[in-house]
Symmetry: C2
Subunit: 448 residues, 2 copies
């Protein structure tokens, strides 16, 4: 079988460019609209994308003036999209730092049952003191602590998902026995962060576990991904950096005793597509003109942990930034951005222009053929197993990608022309997990 | 305006009778099926019910052999029903003991945005050591503590829902200002159980707050309902008990400074409907024959905190039951059941037959006219503002109710023939809450 690439659509109301909501075509209430999300997910499904994805943090993320900042809770929003889609995977972000494993494992199992095996979980540890202060803490837990908790959270969650054997449900009406009690067991977890008896109050779901996705690029994040993640989102601004990340993570997965092919690496790309290169450049320039500098500078200053006054729009970043070690938070993203600004000697104004689009992800402005060429180049040169598509403007950006770029990828034999399986793991070519708690034959009980 | 009664459908996979799944007509996987729930909610919506409702506890509720025991998480399941319904209210149960207010307030606000104002929250404090042991505790918190936490949880939640003023979102593309920062404020909550800074990361929703529903009938529960609840589910086996409960709760609401009309009281009724009385009795008897006594006795023993061996199927309940004060849990339900068994001198076998249907709620077996007469009698004699309909068998029980009982109630002018409003609060005739945190004019910004 020829290797095929994978495509995820990163949903983001009017688009990933922070000024996208100001375009005449944009619905500034799309962030709260079921219909807007139904439309986006149907475009992606019609184009045979593997999945759609929603980021999340349990905090008001930015100044509410800057862009649409209301965020619907992702597991609920994706549940609401089940009825209007049939095959596409649904990946929700949720935090291991600010949830209880019993509740969250149950929500993802519910999403998997309801969607017939289309659920995915982007596991985050949630950086930032602002989020911590919504949950009784003064500051965020230390970076390493967050990842230790995340690791134990996954241990508990996978045991809960496996607490029912695949063959537990008998539905024997005559004998009056719905499930075999000896095929449903407690987990009796006793750890550093959690004590959970179980069992889960749900049978094992179509995929058994949701697809496990991860996006942290710090050392802790990569070790966590090597152990648990089946798909990895990453922000890599160049081909060389993407190749290095790809090789490193596959190696770490092998070192963790896993099949490196079972970790699908999906760099983010922000395509800005025009029928001609000039048309694409014009859209790019229009978006950058719409960025309100006062908000962008404040956000950049927050990320770098410096006063906003220390950033001059027409000068490079100050020399004396707080070093990486002192920042407990969005560790890898901050390093990527600073390295990038220094390497290309960008002014603050130029940097916020770039960040408005890609936030550290690769922005690619060009024609459909140019975008397809770039994707092929990454895919065939050890830099990607597929892409996390982050259109600068939505829905027009995904429409352009679906109708102009996807057909080229299909003609080149790089992308599917139809779904072959029904579950999200099948789309990504990943196996259904074996049970950690129950041995024995698996009976297919025909989940609907 | 004539007073109209209200109807809620209590969704429960194959029905509220514990043996309903064993009937030939029943789908024993309905508990995990989106389609089954879509069908039930559409039947209820076609009949103009005010709402559908899902109970919940974060624990495997009973022996998995007994009946379908897998429970999809209610807020997700109701989110998945939004697309296939348009007017009916969606009420999910969620626990204040085992959630964080920021997360849960956000999920209900999300459900309200996504559904265009149809969200309701049945607030429970979650009895039982089994649930506690899924959340790091050895035993459940004390009854009074659970209600104190619930009260503070509502204080935090309502402040979060009010953290954005109704007129906060401007969506001013020209000025590049999405929301007015001075109309979005932190809540800085500092209490005994919670510290939450806020604001919520969602604008105020169509209903502002989800409809607040409550069902505890203990002293603490009734005080909580009097303070917070806008709709109350209750289990009252007779007209006299229902009248007493109704009068008591309306009085408590008035004493708490609220308009008693803004607390809608909905006793549960388990209708078993036949075209003739004999046909209804036959269905009732068939269901009771299908109850497996070994499971029912174990559940009853658990509720009464006695060994299963102490219960003899053909004798009344033992005299020396542990007194009410010693039981920290489903306080009122246990009292209701014991009083009922003693008053009618029921054997254990007779008692579990009754509990299989109504679990303490009123079972009513009869023709459509008889069921309508009973509803009218309660509604017109100070016992109910409407009913929580708990069909013994689903979907057939709600089909019978919708097509045979509802038309009678409509002909008598007791029930609506179409929806008049679009939100759940409008269905129940309840006002949209004023903001606790923002004063000033409310601008209608046209939520879709």
């Amino acid at each position: 079988m020829t290797r095929k690439l994978h495509l995820n659509l990163f949903l983001h109301d009017t688009g990933h460019h922070e000024a996208s909501w100001r375009l005449p075509e944009s619905d500034p209430y799309a962030n709260l609209s079921l219909e807007a999300h139904q439309r986006l997910s149907r475009i992606a499904e019609d184009a045979k994308f593997d999945s759609v994805f929603l980021a999340d943090s349990p905090v008001l993320w930015s100044d509410p003036g800057r862009r649409p900042s209301g965020k619907l809770e992702p597991t609920l929003l994706l549940a609401a999209l089940i009825a209007s889609t049939s095959r596409i995977g649904l990946i929700a972000t949720a935090s291991t730092s600010y949830n209880e494993p019993y509740n969250l494992a149950r929500r993802f199992a519910s999403l998997d049952h309801l969607s017939g095996g289309r659920a995915g979980w982007n596991i985050v540890t949630t950086a930032g003191a602002d989020a911590a202060r919504n949950f009784g803490l003064d500051d965020q837990p230390l970076h390493a602590d967050r990842y230790q908790r995340a690791d134990e959270f996954l241990d508990v969650s996978t045991k809960l998902w496996d607490s029912w054997a695949d063959d537990a449900v008998l539905a024997d009406k005559r004998a009056g026995v719905h499930a075999a009690a000896d095929r449903v067991r407690s987990i009796e977890h006793r750890g550093r962060y959690f004590r959970v008896d179980g069992p889960l109050n749900l049978p094992r779901s179509p995929q058994a576990w949701p697809l496990l996705v991860q996006a942290g690029s710090s050392e802790d994040g990569k070790e966590f991904a090597a152990k648990w993640a089946e798909a990895v989102f990453t922000a890599q601004p160049t081909l060389a950096e993407s190749q290095a990340f790809y090789a490193d993570l596959k190696k770490r997965a092998a070192a963790a005793g896993r099949d490196p092919d079972h970790v699908v690496i999906l760099p983010g790309i922000v395509p800005i597509i025009g029928d001609t290169a000039a048309e694409a450049q014009e859209l790019d320039a229009e978006l950058d003109r719409l960025i309100a500098p006062r908000y962008a500078v404040a956000t950049l200053a927050h990320l770098l942990r410096v006063p906003a006054e220390s950033l001059d729009l027409d000068k490079p970043l100050p020399e004396d930034l707080p070093p990486e070690e002192e920042i407990e938070g969005a560790k890898s993203r901050r390093t990527l951005i600073v390295d990038w600004a220094r390497r290309e000697n960008l002014t603050v104004r130029e940097l916020i222009g770039r960040l408005g689009g890609g936030r550290g992800h690769r922005t690619f402005t060009g024609t459909p053929v140019q975008v397809a060429d770039t994707i092929q180049e990454y895919f065939e040169n050890g830099a990607a197993d597929g892409f996390n598509i982050m259109p600068a403007v939505l829905p027009s950006g995904v429409e352009a990608f679906a109708t102009k770029v996807v057909p080229i990828l299909q003609e080149r034999g790089l992308f599917r022309t139809d779904y072959e399986g029904t579950t999200l793991r099948e789309h990504y070519g990943l196996p259904r997990p074996a049970s950690r708690l129950h041995a024995g034959a698996v009976r297919d009980r025909g989940y609907r």
